[in-house]
Subunit: 133 residues, 2 copies
DNA sequence: TTCAACCCTGCCGCCAACGACAAGGTCAAG
DNA sequence: CTTGACCTTGTCGTTGGCGGCAGGGTTGAA
């Protein structure tokens, strides 16, 4: 994560939540799953820097696309602007590529099923049904 | 379901399970979810006719493609060879078309996410990194 | 007869991604 | 100095698709 200055966007969990369209509960959950990290203020409150917003948005985007937290954990290092991080990290990279392959299979399976269902529905209606985008 | 003769493929749950690559437990679950039905022998055992095999395979196929039991329930009537069933049933049909649209959206979201991840990975192995969202 | 291999109906457990509390600490404003 | 809006940890609940086990009946074969 490499932060040279102590942090500019000192933001608490509630603010981060509204900024990312989620809830404090979910953010704690992500932290506990190892997807995000936080520092603590003197009073014990979580404090986030401004990079957290992008990170959480990435997480939400991937979750919304049907990925699991585990999947996201695999891909996140590739999404952070974390340029100085480990070099292409052959290992994590391969894991990510594997997951990507799994994603592709899943998409293919769903697409096939959808096509068959669409065909069945067309047959059911005597073929006079608008095509499915 | 229309069965003119009492049934040829009098088969019990275990056999149906192995024939469809699933388990008795799952079949009871499908029944309780209203996806399949069974008669009962004098001893209380479930008895299925041969159409059950195809039906269950359809179910498994759709589940494997990521559909829920509820989704499957919507589509099943269109998949049975149940030609003499209700006429195109404008209502159930529309529900099915709606679900199909949802499927399409889901596939689109996943495809988009996959493309972005793939792009990020490519950059990771070749060039600079850029966040997804 | 007795055994193994089936079947039955509950009902609890699990995984995921949180939601919804409880019971308490903190802090700025009035 | 009290309110009220924040925050903390902890634990239980929920939805979906079953797995697994308890406790019991049934049946064909040895």
């Amino acid at each position: 994560m490499i932060r040279l200055v102590p942090g500019v966007g000192r933001v608490r969990i509630g603010e981060l939540a509204t900024a990312t369209g989620t809830t404090a509960r979910a953010l704690r959950h992500y932290e506990q799953a190892g997807l995000i990290s936080s520092e603590r203020a003197a009073n014990g409150y979580r404090v986030y820097d401004e990079t957290a917003v992008v990170r959480v948005r990435n997480i939400r985007y991937l979750l919304a696309a049907g990925l699991t937290l585990e999947d996201v954990q695999v891909f996140l290092p590739c999404l952070d602007g974390d340029v100085a991080a480990a070099p292409p990290s052959g290992k994590g990279l391969r894991v990510a590529l594997d997951r990507l392959a799994v994603l592709n299979e899943r998409i293919a399976a769903q697409t096939e099923a959808r096509d068959r269902l669409a065909a069945a529905l067309r047959e059911r209606t005597g073929g006079r049904v608008r095509p499915v985008a």
